[in-house]
Symmetry: C2
Subunit: 296 residues, 2 copies
C-alpha cells in the first residue's frame, strides 16, 4: 500500500439546494470541479458542512454516481458514508468502494448515546465485513461536538489491529488539539486530517496529512498554499492569515455563513437555501459577517 494515498486539502462540499430544498446536482458538480481547479487536492462530499445528515440514502447514492459520471476522479473523493442507519452506511460505503473512491469518511452511528467502545468497534467492523471489498479505505470521522459519539484511542487501536490496510486514517473535528496530537503521535502511519484548517500547520508538523476543512469551500487556494509551503519560513504567518478568515465567521452558524459567502460571490440567492433544521442568518448578521470576511 502506498503511504498517504490521500492527503492535502479536502473540502466537505456545500450542497446547493433548489428552492424546493432538493439538491441542485448540476450546481453541486460545478462547485466540485471548481474547488479542484482552485486548489483542493480532493473532495469530501456528504460531510457535516454538506448538510449530508439531512440527505437520504437515495439522494446520496444518486449524487455520487452523477459526480463521477461527470468526470470528477473517484480517486480524489472521500464521501461521507457513515449514516444513522446501519444498512444505509453499508450500502453507501459499498457503492463508494465499487466506484473507486479514494476513501470513505465514516461517522460512527450517532443516535444512541453512551455506547461502549465495543459498540463503536463493532459498528465499524460490521460495515467493513458486510462491504467485503478490499478497495474500501476507511477514514474515521471523529466529531464529538456534533455526533456526540466519537472514536476513542482504544477503538482506533483495535480497528487498526483488526483491519490494517482498510482502516487507514481519520478526520478529527473534535476541536481538541490534545486529542489530535495523541492520535498523531500514538499511531504512526495512520493518516490524520485535521477537521479544521486552524490546526493545519500543527497537523503537518506532526506528520499529519492535511485538512478536511469547511473553509476550503471558500478559500481553497489559501489553505492549499499553506499545505504546499508548510516548511517555508512564513508558514506561521500563512496559518495566521487562515485564522483571520475563521475568526471572521466564528460568531455565525458555520454552514449558513458559508452559503452566504457563496451567494454573495455568485449573485445566486438560491445558495441561501438550507434544509431544516438549519436556518439562515438574518440580513443584518449576514452583512456584518460578509464585511468581516471580506476584510479578513
Amino acid at each position: 500500500m502506498p503511504t498517504h494515498p490521500l492527503g492535502g486539502v479536502f473540502a466537505p462540499v456545500l450542497t446547493p439546494m433548489r428552492d424546493d430544498l432538493i439538491p441542485d446536482t448540476a450546481k453541486w458538480i460545478a462547485l466540485c470541479k471548481q474547488l479542484l481547479a482552485d486548489g483542493c487536492t480532493g473532495l469530501a462530499p456528504f460531510g457535516t458542512t454538506s448538510e449530508a445528515n439531512s440527505l437520504g440514502i437515495g439522494e446520496r447514492m444518486e449524487m455520487l454516481d452523477a459526480l463521477i459520471e461527470a468526470g470528477v476522479p473517484a480517486a480524489k473523493l472521500m464521501p461521507g458514508t457513515g449514516m444513522c442507519a446501519f444498512p444505509d452506511t453499508v450500502a453507501l460505503s459499498a457503492q463508494a468502494a465499487r466506484l473507486g473512491c479514494g476513501g470513505v469518511l465514516l461517522l460512527p452511528p450517532f443516535y444512541y448515546k453512551g455506547v461502549s467502545d465495543d459498540g463503536v468497534f463493532r459498528a465499524v467492523a460490521e460495515v467493513i465485513e458486510r462491504v467485503g471489498d478490499n478497495r474500501l479505505k476507511v477514514y474515521l470521522y471523529n466529531i464529538p461536538p456534533i455526533a456526540v459519539v466519537g472514536y476513542s484511542p482504544a477503538v482506533i487501536e483495535r480497528l487498526l489491529a483488526a483491519y490494517p490496510g482498510t482502516v487507514v486514517g481519520m478526520k478529527d473535528s473534535s476541536g481538541d488539539w490534545d486529542y489530535q496530537k495523541s492520535v498523531l503521535e500514538g499511531f504512526p502511519g495512520f493518516d490524520v486530517f485535521s477537521g479544521s484548517e486552524r490546526f493545519l500547520l500543527a497537523n503537518l508538523r506532526l506528520s499529519g496529512v492535511g485538512t478536511i476543512s469547511a473553509m476550503a469551500n471558500v478559500i481553497p487556494d489559501k489553505i492549499r498554499s499553506l499545505y504546499d509551503n508548510y516548511l517555508s519560513a512564513n508558514a506561521d504567518q500563512m496559518q495566521e492569515e487562515l485564522n483571520r478568515y475563521r475568526e471572521a465567521t466564528r460568531d455565525y452558524a458555520a454552514i449558513a455563513a458559508l452559503k452566504q459567502i457563496m451567494a454573495r460571490r455568485t449573485g445566486d440567492r438560491a445558495w441561501l437555501n438550507l434544509r431544516p433544521p438549519l436556518t439562515n442568518l438574518s440580513e443584518s448578521a449576514a452583512e456584518a459577517m460578509l464585511t468581516k470576511f471580506a476584510t479578513a
Copy 2:
C-alpha cells in the same frame, strides 16, 4: 376531531433481529399482536427502544406495510417517523398517514446540534406541508437525553397555532417531570404521553393521556392495570409496583436488558441480537438483572 383519539398504554415495540441482523418481521408481527392481546392499547413501532434509528427507510416502510397487512389495526399504531434525513421523514410520515395510522411519533432532526427554535419549528412544518395529508396526526417525540435536540414549550406553542388538528400530542421522554408538568398544564387538549411508566400516574392526574413505555414490551398488563385504575384507592401502590420493575433494570442498558427478558421468556436466543452500536449484556450482568426482574 374527537378528544384523545389515542391514549393509553403504548409499547415502542422491540425489533427482533435475525442472526444476520436483518429484522425478523414475522417474529415482530407476532410480538405486536401479543402486546395488543396482553394489554397494550396501541403500539409505537420504530421507537428508540425498537433500535429504529439503526433501521433504514426501506426497512421501516416494508415493516409497516407488513404489519398492517397482517391485520394489526392501523388506527392503533403510532410509528416513529422522525428520521435523521428530511426526505425519509417525509416519506415515512406520508406512508403512515396514507395507511391510516392513528398518529406518527416525530423526533426532530437530531444530527445538527445547537439548532434554533426556528429550525425545529421549520423542520416539523416542512414535513407537515410536504406530506399534505389531513389524516396526518403528529405526536412530538421529546427525548433530549438521547436526541439532544428537543422541543421547547415555545416551539410547541408555535406548532399548535400553525397546525391545530395536525400537531396533537407529545411523547415526553425528557425524564424531567417539571418539563412534562409544564407541558401538561400549559397546553390543555394537547395529548401528552409520558415516555416512561414511572410518571404514568402523575401524568394521568394532570390530564395526560397515558404512556409510551419501553417496559410495556415486558409488563404490558401491569401498566395497563394502572392506566385503567388510576382513580382507584390503590393507584399509588400500583405505581410503586411498576417502579420496582424499572428499578430492577435501571443499572443495565435498557434495550439489551429488555431483549434478555424476551430471550429468557421465549427460550429463543435470537432475541439477544442487537444491531451495532448496541451491545449485549455480559452473561453475569444478564443473570443478575434477570434475577432482580423476576423478584421485582
